[in-house]
């Protein structure tokens, strides 16, 4: 330390007060000085408690320190050893000295390392005998340290696996309460005493069915903890009323009237399996099935009540689980409630097996829709809320008394039709429509010459459908399109609107429609000749849709037409009837006739150019694939080339 040029150490007392702010004109604002306690706290924070107190301090200093610390005991909890300020810079000097020492040492080491003039660095030779530890000991120590590390890791891993297993367990075991929450989000539950009851009826949706529809939620405790938990385990189970168990559906079918009424009321075969949606719980399936059974029972109860109460011309028969009514003579509509509890497989034999697709699904769906509409009506704002004295009906009806409505007004407000009537009307319409389609199709396949085309309308009503029927000849569609019929199929009648404006009402009889179409087809042929004559340049001499001559047709009337060639030499007469077929006669000029009756009156030669006798054409032997084609050929043959 001596000999080196003296290092001037300038000591400046640190700023007692900190500069808080320097204003723009250079004026410094100092932070206010700390109070005694604040100062003490600040110093206390700077003391490093990890370091041991100064070793080379003498005893008296320590004593004086202790003396000093005693009066300080009130300010300070006796945790801090406060150095007595005999000389305020003592610690500073000591620190500086020690740092200087360190710096010199460092400088020496670095110079030794760098210059290598007087001293060099030499590695410390390892004395194998001195520093050698026995291998066994090394092994043991390594083993021990590894074991400690391994134990730590294992402990951590154990914790992790335990938490993963717990999660899995939780997911599968699913708490009863969380399952109950899921159940409550979809079904109505209430707590009665210590039981949890639920409501699966449609009463809150407006139904008036007197069934209570309550189910009970019970805890599933038959879990065997030793065995593996099954996949579909559910801690919750529902108990539904025994009469709603199993599944049900309403079967609506139309059959030919069975001659014997002996086997009415048999339980129909249950054939549908409920499709289990993936992810849905067993209780959900059970409850949904029970609700469906309840709805089917309600529908059937309503239908049977109406069947008994409503007077109709042909009374409806209600037998056990079937309602049978007659929409049309010879036809039978049966609505039956098929309820199977799923356990028993009895009563497999059923007469319905022969017609598997007898069931009209559309009507079953419509029944469900109608009953739901009926529910909605009881809840609509038109009915609810209602005063206590008024009956459950349309709100305008409550004014019927005071406003003295007469019967016409009352009936216009009231629901005139019940469920059964509606469904019977729908069934009638469906049947009529299918029969009409069958008639048209059978005619189309049977008769080739005028072709019959049916264009069914896409948009239908439950009570009305329409079809456009066109009768055309193949190859001459543009020319012969005068027969176009629009059929409006209603509930009991078919209304036909002809292109020429006639409106004809046909009954539900199949034969009427068939006869009508046949007569239209025969008329079409004659109309076709008329149109063809226009095209070919022939003149129409006479045309009649309903001729009064010739044999009487049993279906419709025969039509006839006479056309003359452009030069007037030939004439063709056609008579076409639905039954009698077509008859074509050609009139030749007198000059071509073989046997001319000799007459005294007509002697001039010019009269031989007039048309004379008729000759029938063997129509069956004519060439041509249809009537109009043959006619065209005939006309062409009779028109000589110029």
């Amino acid at each position: 330390m001596s000999g080196a040029p003296a290092v001037r150490v300038s000591i400046e007392s640190s700023c007692e007060r900190q500069v808080q702010e320097v204003s723009l004109d250079g004026l410094e604002t100092y932070a206010p000085p700390l109070s005694m306690s604040q100062n003490l706290a600040k110093l206390a924070q700077r003391i490093d408690f990890g370091q041991s107190s100064d070793e080379d301090e003498d005893g008296p200093e320590r004593d004086s320190r202790e003396q000093w610390s005693k009066p300080e005991a009130e300010e300070d909890e006796g945790m801090v050893k406060f150095q007595p300020s005999l000389w305020p810079w003592d610690s500073v000097r000591n620190n500086l000295r020690s740092s200087l020492t360190e710096m010199c040492v460092l400088h020496d080491v670095l110079s030794v390392l760098k210059d290598k003039k007087y001293m060099t660095l030499d590695p410390v030779s390892q004395d194998p005998s001195v520093g050698k530890t026995p291998q066994v000991f090394q092994l043991l120590s390594k083993k021990k340290s590894l074991a400690t590390a391994a134990q730590l890791l294992l402990r951590g891993a154990e914790k992790l696996t335990k938490s993963v297993v717990e999660n899995q367990e939780q997911r599968r075991q699913r708490d009863f309460n969380s399952e109950l929450l899921r159940l409550r989000s979809q079904w109505k539950l209430r707590k009665v005493g210590d039981k949890i009851l639920g409501d699966l009826s449609y009463r809150s949706a407006g139904s008036m069915f007197p069934h209570h529809g309550t189910f009970e939620v019970i805890k599933n405790t038959d879990l065997d903890l030793d065995k593996k938990i099954p996949d579909d385990y559910c801690p919750l189970n529902v108990q539904i009323p025994s009469e709603l168990e199993g599944s049900a559906y309403i079967k609506v079918s139309i059959q030919k009237q069975s001659p014997d009424i002996g086997d009415l009321g048999t339980v129909n075969l249950f054939r549908r399996q409920a499709k289990a949606k993936p992810g849905s719980q067993m209780w959900h399936l059970k409850l949904e099935a029970a609700q469906n059974v309840l709805l089917c029972k309600e529908i059937f109860a309503q239908l049977s009540r109406e069947a008994v109460q409503i007077k109709s011309q042909i009374p409806h028969i209600v037998v056990k689980n079937q309602i049978i009514s007659q929409p049309f003579p010879g036809l039978q509509l049966s609505i039956s409630l098929c309820h199977s509890t799923g356990e028993k497989k009895n009563q497999r034999a059923s007469p319905d097996k022969s017609k598997p697709d007898d069931h009209l699904y559309v009507l079953e769906h419509n029944l469900h829709q109608l009953i739901r509409e009926f529910h909605k009506q009881t809840l609509s704002s038109v009915v609810m809320p209602h005063p206590a004295s008024a009956p459950f009906s349309h709100k305008r009806l409550r004014m019927a008394g005071p406003m003295a409505y007469d019967k016409a007004e009352i009936s216009s407000l009231q629901q005139s039709e019940g469920l059964l009537e509606k469904i019977i009307k729908q069934a009638k319409h469906i049947f009529l429509r299918s029969r009409t389609a069958r008639t048209i199709d059978s005619l189309a396949s049977r008769i080739e010459d005028p072709q019959i085309q049916a264009h069914w309308s896409n948009i239908n009503d439950v009570y009305e459908s329409s079809v456009k029927v066109l009768i055309t000849s193949q190859g001459y569609e543009q020319i012969c399109k005068s027969i176009q019929l629009q059929l409006n199929i209603g509930v009991e009648q078919i209304r036909v609107v002809h292109r020429d404006g006639r409106v004809i009402t046909l009954s539900h009889q199949e034969q009427e429609l068939q006869d009508f179409l046949l007569s239209q087809m025969s008329q079409h042929q004659v109309h076709a000749v008329q149109q063809l004559a226009k095209v070919m340049g022939w003149h129409v001499l006479s045309f009649s849709n309903h001729v009064g001559l010739g044999p009487i047709e049993s279906i419709g009337n025969a039509s006839a037409i006479t056309v003359a060639s452009p030069n007037g030499e030939y004439a063709i007469s056609v008579r076409n009837g639905p039954e009698s077929g077509c008859k074509v006669l050609v009139q030749f000029p007198r000059s071509q006739a073989k046997e001319l009756p000799k007459s005294d009156v007509v002697q001039d030669g010019k009269w031989t150019h007039l048309r004379g006798p008729y000759k029938e054409v063997h129509w069956g032997r004519m060439e041509g694939r249809n009537f109009v084609y043959k006619m065209e050929l005939l006309m062409a043959a009779l028109t000589p080339c110029p």
């Binding site: 019927a400 008394g401 005071p402 003295a404 409505y405």
Partner: protein, 212 residues
Amino acid sequence: MGVTCVCQVPVSEGKSVQQTVDILHKKLEQLGAVKQGNFWVDCETYHATGNATGQPSKLLYVMHNSETPLSCMALFEGGPGLSADANFDVLMVKLKSHFQNAKGHKVESRGVRYRYCDFLVKIGTVAMSSSARGISVEVEYCACVIPGDCWNLMKEFMQSFLGSNTPELPTVFTSKAEGLSVPVDCMDTMSQYLELFGRVRKQQVLPGSGVR
């Protein structure tokens, strides 16, 4: 609801009530009217009690009409009237202390209802305690609600089967302040019936009418 005219047809000489009614039926059927069920109109009398002075208590008449099956009409003679729900009868039972039912005074008219295009003709036998007292004929023209517009037509129609018994324009229409161009009300019909029943009540019992 159309313009109605209620009149009383006197019993023909030498014939009973039933026979006169049958004659009228036949005339209507010859005209081409179609029978459309039955009708009834009845009237009950209530005395207002609790009258301190010796004045005759006002009579309240409660009437029902099968044409308005859900209503009940209550009126004072020549005075105001109201039409209410069928629960009014129950209300009258509750008001027993204020209105007492005069049970013997119940009058009703029952009979057949005919329909002839827009006309509804109801021929009824007026009976009081099951003894026939007279015949009531109600003609309703459903197509019009203003009496002034259709009275002539109705009169002509009534002449065709009632002959000389055709009534004049009912006083309910003429006594209205606004005249004949005011739409009719169900109360007009009931007032006419009330007048008729009152007349029948005052009449003496017909000889030989008996229990029908």
